[in-house]
Amino acid sequence: MNDYRLEVRITPRTGLLDPQGKAIENALHSLDFGDVEDVRVGRLIRLRLAADSADAARSAAEDMCRRLLANPVTEDFDIRVDGGT
């Protein structure tokens, strides 16, 4: 078994309203970051996982996302696997 560090990024589905992103965008504009657009706020989940291979780690993480971490109705996710020591 190897030790992997995973990063799961969960973001609101495109097309869905993201009121938080909108509020942050407005705030950035009023702070003179006028060139900012399309602010979307998601979640970042970092974790360590013991697995046989990077692929196994990734597929476990996908399973976690589908079952618990991401809301299948409103969120998309993607996964990065690092390490393997």
Binding site: P19, I24, A27
Partner: protein, 247 residues
Amino acid sequence: MRVAIVTFPGSNCDYDCYKAINDVAGGIARFVWHRDTELGTCDAVILPGGFSYGDYLRAGAIARFSPIMDAVQRFAADGGFVLGICNGFQVLCESGMLPGALVRNRSLHFQGERVRVRVDNADTAFTRAYSPGAVLHLHIAHGQGAYVADDATLAKLEAEQRVVFRYVDEAGEPSDAGNANGSMRNIAGVINAEGNVLGLMPHPERSVEALLGSTDGLALFESLRRSVDEAVAVTDAAGRPDWEAGV
């Protein structure tokens, strides 16, 4: 006591503070819109509870950039009394007027309930009408109220007796069981070094009438009134403009 209550978009305890000041605490309150740049004449400022900017990003993070906040900072720097309640406390921390930060409750839930809070410093402008160590029944209503700060800050706050309120258990002790939301050292409210800016998560304005179940918050406003009266006696002599009553 002339109190300016700042209304941010999303504030929702502004009116409650207004009624507590005007109807019960014997003061005169007035709303100030967050876009205003002047507070007008006042003896104290309240940053009320609620969800300024929807609590988006972090509670209080966006509101602290509201135009009025410059005036609030100046007012505080001149020694004016500033009271931040719940979201107002979060705004004060975000803007650096008070140390520390307020993060998600340990329960991970919004908590709307009555808790026990001990007055750990009854020698401030905001708590002088309480007896030291008094245990109050106050309501909390927040999702991000766990107080955190680094060790050095905590040590300094303790050393300077700037932890004004703490969550306590039935025995009046700041135990883990009595810690309503997972705050470090059970901290429910802190004051700045100068003693004129107080922030607390519980809502004293919800406990000023017996009909609603508790009057334990009343002495906070009473303390503020006394402190203001003393301060005003000095400043009015200095010739500040008169208060336009009832505006």
